[in-house]
């Protein structure tokens, strides 16, 4: 979507990501998504009197890894209480970082070479999960709410970008690149649909080169698609408002995915007064150089570098292959593709199987080792498996694990020996003399007929190319 002529949107994103720790930010309760409600709670995360928070070392490691990947400065930092009255935090405050975040500044380069500045990436704790009863299930009009505190105290990093994004497509690109980085660092599983990565968007519009306009903050963006749609809707709403002689009010707006629209949640006048003050129960955090170096040494290559490395092995890639490359990088499947290419698999085939079959089986990827992936593709490349059979074998390996040769044999995919194939073809030629005659006279379409017959007789165990070779040899 583009805005009416002369208008430009200005977007900044706040991305919250839950960290992949074993325990919560300030207590030893399990950081467990989807557990039975209120089974992962203790005096600390329930805010019981006298309970004291202690920082999770692993959460700090991961926060620093995110900062390093975003070229931030790891800084001495402190924790504050953000006070508000709402039952999703039983303490009535959230522990967050305020004026001194662990990661200050930084940037993220998008695949389209735009550089988006990072203002900060700070640590905080997640809130409990409320279910609203009665009314529409939304918070407004609910009779009462039920709260599960399993998520209360789960470590989060909030990554705040500068107002450098100029289109919804770019916003999506930023979010997707950031997600790939978060997954690469091991900080997050990047699952937006499960809420482990959530995005708020600050949107304003202006005539090009004018000062920034008044912004609105859109909440509740839990997919890349919602992000893109909400930003487009909101920017257009503001332009229409301004062109109609109105003015934009600074406010927080809620995105409704079904309506495809944003609506007012609260205005600036009603904005919360959080009364931030230092968390007296936590001391300063100032990771020394040795600690930082230890985290830095453990950082894997980031998506941009991996994209470049894989791209270099796909000389002359077409558009579809470039899309496949993005999928493979996004999902972290490139080690499989590299392994297969190293083993002698055609780069295009390795990429296609990675972006399709592996991507589809991502949930089960732990069952598949790289050797098995490469071996399957080599069998396909040598003609020992048809492409359909190779896909089936990969699916089977993902579902149950195992060794490709064994799986192929169990499926009856073992190809016919040359002798058997030769005999089968000879019998067919005797059975269909007129078709054979036409083929010999140059009607190549009849090759398909014979392949079909061979497949029927052999239950699909033959290789089409081998059948054609047999036919040619006899012509």
């Amino acid at each position: 979507m583009s805005l009416p002529h002369g208008w430009e949107m200005v977007v900044g994103l706040e991305v919250h990501t839950e960290l992949q720790t074993a325990t919560k930010m300030f207590c030893g309760c399990a950081n467990a998504f989807g557990a039975v409600p209120n089974t992962s709670v203790c005096p600390v995360c329930l805010g019981l009197p006298g309970a004291l928070p202690v920082l999770n070392e692993r959460a700090i490691d991961l926060a620093m890894a995110i900062g390093m990947a975003l070229h931030s400065t790891i800084s001495p930092s402190t924790f504050h209480r953000k006070n508000y009255f709402y039952p999703d935090m039983p303490k009535d405050f959230q522990i967050s970082q305020y004026d001194l975040p662990i990661n200050a500044g930084g940037y993220l380069d998008l695949p389209d070479s735009t550089r988006v500045t990072i203002e900060r990436a700070h640590l905080e704790e997640d809130t409990g999960k409320s279910t609203h009863l009665g009314g529409s299930g939304r918070i407004h009009g609910a009779d009462r709410s039920l709260v599960d505190y399993n998520r209360s105290g789960v470590p989060l990093v909030e990554i705040v970008s500068g107002p450098d994004i100029r289109s919804s497509t770019q916003a999506r690109l930023y979010a997707s690149e950031l997600r790939a980085i978060l997954v690469a660092t091991g900080a997050s599983d990047g699952r937006m649909e499960e809420g482990s990565m959530r995005i708020d968007a600050n949107v304003s519009v202006r005539h090009a080169d004018e000062p920034f306009g008044t912004r609105c903050e859109i909440k509740n963006l839990n997919s890349l698609r919602s992000l893109q749609r909400a930003i487009d809707y909101e920017a257009l709403r503001q332009v229409e408002l301004l062109e109609g002689g109105g003015r934009v009010r600074q406010e927080t707006r809620h995105w409704d995915e079904n309506l495809g629209a944003t609506s007012t949640m609260r205005t600036k006048e009603e904005a919360e007064d959080y009364r931030y003050f230092r968390e007296p129960d936590l001391v300063d955090l100032a990771p020394d150089i040795a600690w930082q170096d230890r985290v830095r040494a453990g950082l894997p290559p980031m998506p941009a570098e991996r994209r470049a490395t894989l791209s270099a092995r796909l000389v002359g890639a077409n558009d579809a292959q470039l899309d496949a490359l993005e999928v493979v990088i996004d999902l972290g499947l490139d080690p499989f593709v590299h392994h297969a290419i190293d083993a002698g698999v055609d780069p295009g085939l390795a990429l296609a199987r990675g972006a399709n079959e592996l991507a589809a089986g991502l949930e089960d990827i732990a069952r598949l080792n790289r050797d098995a992936f490469s071996a399957t593709l080599l069998m396909e490349q040598r003609g020992e498996l048809s492409s359909t059979q190779a896909k089936t074998v990969l699916g089977e390996l993902l579902a149950h694990g195992g060794e490709p040769g064994t799986v192929a044999a169990a499926k009856g995919f073992e190809q016919l020996s040359a002798d058997t194939l030769g005999t089968t073809v000879a019998e067919l030629l005797a059975q269909f003399p007129s078709e054979w005659e036409r083929y010999r006279d140059g009607d190549e379409k009849l090759a398909q007929f014979f392949i079909g017959q061979v497949m029927r007789i052999t239950n699909g165990q033959a290789n089409g190319k081998a059948v054609v070779a047999e036919l040619r040899a006899r012509r």
Binding site: A22, N38, V41, L55, N56, E57, S145, L146, D148
Partner: protein, 100 residues
């Protein structure tokens, strides 16, 4: 020097904490809180430019624990402490509404 505490400041802070204060209580807390803030003002009057801000009496940094799961509380025990519960969750009254 911070300006003296006003009665409406106390009313605002009370509202944020969802405390309902009577007129007499508002008067009382305006005076009491005012005295606390006045004490802070006394400190501000001192020449402390050379003194580094101290947020904590201990000179400690980086107090951390290992990321190892410890036992959580029994859910029945947890919900027993709540004024109201339903479906294994804490039940709370309507969230959005008029503040007291």
């Amino acid at each position: 020097m911070a300006p003296p505490l006003r009665r409406e400041d106390v009313a605002h802070v009370a509202r944020l904490a969802r405390l309902t204060l009577s007129e007499a209580e508002l008067d009382m807390f305006t005076e009491q809180l005012g005295q606390v803030l006045e004490h802070a003002n006394d400190m501000s009057a001192l020449a402390l430019d050379d003194v580094v801000a101290t947020a904590h009496p201990f000179g400690l940094t980086n107090v951390v624990r290992e990321d190892v799961v410890t036992a959580s509380l029994e859910r029945a025990r947890v919900l027993e402490m709540a004024p109201d519960a339903q479906d294994g969750r804490f039940a709370v009254p309507q969230i959005m509404g008029d503040a007291p």
